[in-house]
Structure formats: structure tokens, C-alpha cells
Symmetry: C2
Subunit: 227 residues, 2 copies
Amino acid sequence: MAQIRGARGSRAKASVRSATKSKTREPRVATASVEGSSSTEARLLDCALTIFAEKGYSATSVRQIIDAAGVTQPTLYYYCDDKADLFKRLVRQKYEESHQQLDSVLQQIDGCEERLRTLVRRSFEYCVADPRIPRLMFQTYFGPPIEGIAEFLDELTATRFALVTRLMRDGMKSGELKRADPEFLALSFCNLMDQPINLFARMSHPKRYLTSKLADAIVELFLRGGG
Amino acid sequence: MAQIRGARGSRAKASVRSATKSKTREPRVATASVEGSSSTEARLLDCALTIFAEKGYSATSVRQIIDAAGVTQPTLYYYCDDKADLFKRLVRQKYEESHQQLDSVLQQIDGCEERLRTLVRRSFEYCVADPRIPRLMFQTYFGPPIEGIAEFLDELTATRFALVTRLMRDGMKSGELKRADPEFLALSFCNLMDQPINLFARMSHPKRYLTSKLADAIVELFLRGGG
DNA sequence: TTACCAACCTAACGACCGTTAGGTTTCACG
DNA sequence: CGTGAAACCTAACGGTCGTTAGGTTGGTAA
């Protein structure tokens, strides 16, 4: 099992497999969309995302994925080590994409309230843009533990929790927030933000639910309370 | 399929099966604990709860349950229609137990803030008393949808959401809460209350996490905000 | 004594699962 | 042209799953 490495660690079928690195296979042409015309690997990842999000990781069989992608099972195993690796690749990519952007945007903003507002609004936008991602992530994170997956998700979500905790600490330092346990505040805020997303993702994603109005209402409730 | 009925709807193996009612099998003696000495049915239910809570509904096989209970597979199918029926029986019983008590206690209390405080405190107490129950319920509710189970849980949790919504409406009527969408407030409050429970249930349930101090902090944050 | 039924059992059934051994095709490169 | 590797394929492997057909037992009622 080696170390926790940032690298993908797939491929290299017939070779030694003891090497932890193993270079990443990149598509020969830079394809944009994920239609039937795109690369096999991209199609596999996208179909996997769709079906994983719909039925959950465990209830999705690799056969369903390869059927949707129009390939056979060994093809899937050519591109990833196993089902878990497929999932991790998928989620890590999507997560880091949004997380890094969110992080850099927040650093350019002053004031706790405005930061929180931006955090919620941006998160909502990401989720509306592709509801499969939050649906898969929340379902898997809050669902029954899956060996090799649960720890991976814990690690991912910890980085976001750390970000929010930092926001809370800063808010307390600047006097915008009352003195309190920053982790309690961060957890509470994440709950207020995440569960509407979760609700949205597991319904038939009505277009007008995750609005910026709702985002602001959440921040308002968090800061000023409902009483 | 038939209608949505309150009754259990198990048993009646070789008989017609079209009858929706079917009387409930009660143990011949009233056994208290769930040791090896109690009735087979109670032992099955308790073992099912333990393993379902630990690994989730789908990842739990009936073989694991009957092994833990010390019986064979046909015995399990003698007491319930199938795996889903076993789960529903389990959850319905535990849920209604706590929900009814909670409901009646809340009706004897005046004042929104005191009611909310009691709601959270009591919920915490239930969860500390047997963490398997919230763990199983949240895991299954927030996890990937399971045919025949998801709708069942939606129905159950809707009753509690209605209760909380009523509290919010009353609070707004009495002026203790600002005018706002009562469902938004109810959802937000449930999030603030449930996720710490969820966190507690999926960790190794540290004795001193779901304290009445945390309960009060949640109500305080909900009413007065963190800003 | 006999008949019956609740309460269990042994032993399988068929379906599906993740994974892989061992090909074949295509094509860039020498 | 020949070689080799990338990108796929057919066809299975062994295992686990939920469920059940068809017993056996032991006590109770007629």
C-alpha cells in the first residue's frame, strides 16, 4: 500500500506495480466535451460520475459503467487499478478544481460576512452547474463507511473544514464574530450550507432552489440568528 | 405493494399473502434484555440493528445477521418477509418510540426557546443511550437511495420535520422568532441539531460530546447568531 | 394416540459481483 | 518490412448475495 501520495498511482499493468509514482496517461488530443466522440478515459470517468451519483458507489457495478461508456471491463481496468481508484480519481479531480478556485477567491475578499456570503454563493453555483458532484460526495461521505473510500473522503473534506475554521478565527479576531469555539462555528456553518445542497442534489434539482437569496438567508441566520 | 399501511405486513408464509394486515407475532414470554436468553426474534432484531448500524444496510448480508444471532437463514425469513422488511420493522419501532415521547414532552413546555432546548437535549440523550439508532438512520437517510427504503425513511423523517416546523410557526406567532419561512428555519435548526449527532454516531461515540452544554450552544447560535 | 402447527434446520438455487488471463487490432517508429 | 507497445477485446474465474424448497422437531390440543 506504500505511502499516501498525491499522485494517481494507476496504470503500469504488466510492470512491477511496486513503483508508487507511475506517470499519468494523458489523452492524445485535447477534447472538450464528453460526448461519444471524446476519449475513452474521459467517457469512462463521466459515465462513472453519472451512475455513481445516481445509485451510489457500492450499488454501481463496473458493468453498468462500461455499458454506459460503450467499452468492456478490461478497458476500465486498463485505465484504473480498480473500482475504488476510479472513484477517487473522479472525486479528487472535481473537488480540487472547485476547492482551489474557492480558496483563491476568498483570499481576495475582506470582511467575514462578505467572505461567508461568497463561500455559500460560490458553492451553490458549483453545485447547480453539475449536481452530480455534490450528490456523489455527500451521499458517499454521509452514507455507510466504505473501506478505502471513507478515509479518502475524510481527508478531502478536512481541507475545506480547515478553510472555514480559518474564516471563523479571522472573524473573531476582527470582532465580527463573538468569541466562541471556532470549530463549533465552522461545523455549524458547514451544516447550514451543506444540507440545502444535499437536499437539492438528492431531489430532481429544481432550478430555483440554491439561489443567492437562500445563500444570503443562511449567512444572515448564522450571523444574526432567527430569534 | 398495495397501499401505505401502518401495519407491519409480514408473516403468513404459505398463506395468501394478499392480505395487508397479518397479525404480529408476539414473544411467548416477556423478555427484558437482549442477551442470548431472549427470544429469537428479539435477538435477530438486535443483531440486525448492530450490524446494519456498523456497516450500513446494503453492505450487511443476512448471513452476517443470522450468524450473530446464532440461527440460520430460513429462521430470519420465518420472522420477516425479507431484508428490507427487517430493516423497516427495526427502524419504525425505534423511531416511533422516541418520537412519540418527544412529542408529548414538548407539548407540556411553554416558550419557543425552552422547547428547542428540550428538543435538542432529549435527542442527544436518546442518541447517547443507543448510538446505533441515529447512526443507522442518518447513514441510511443521507446515503445512496435504496429501493423501498428511501421512501420509507422520507415518510418517517417528514413527521419530525413537521413537528419542528410547528415549533417555528408557534415561535413566530408568539414573537419569539423573527418573521421568516418556517420551513427554512426548521430545516436549518434540524441541520444544526442533527449533524453533531451524526458526527457523534459515526465516530467512536466519545462519552462527552453530545452534552447539554453543546445542546444549549446550538440553540443559542440558532436564536442569537454567531455575529 | 394422533394430528397439527410453530419454530427451527440442511442444502441448495440462480443471479450478480469485481477482477483477470490471454488474446487481437492498430499504428508509430526503426 | 518488422517490432513493440498502446488500446482495446472475449470469456471466463471464484466468490457472495438474497431467497427458498423441503425437511425435522417438540409441544399442544383433540
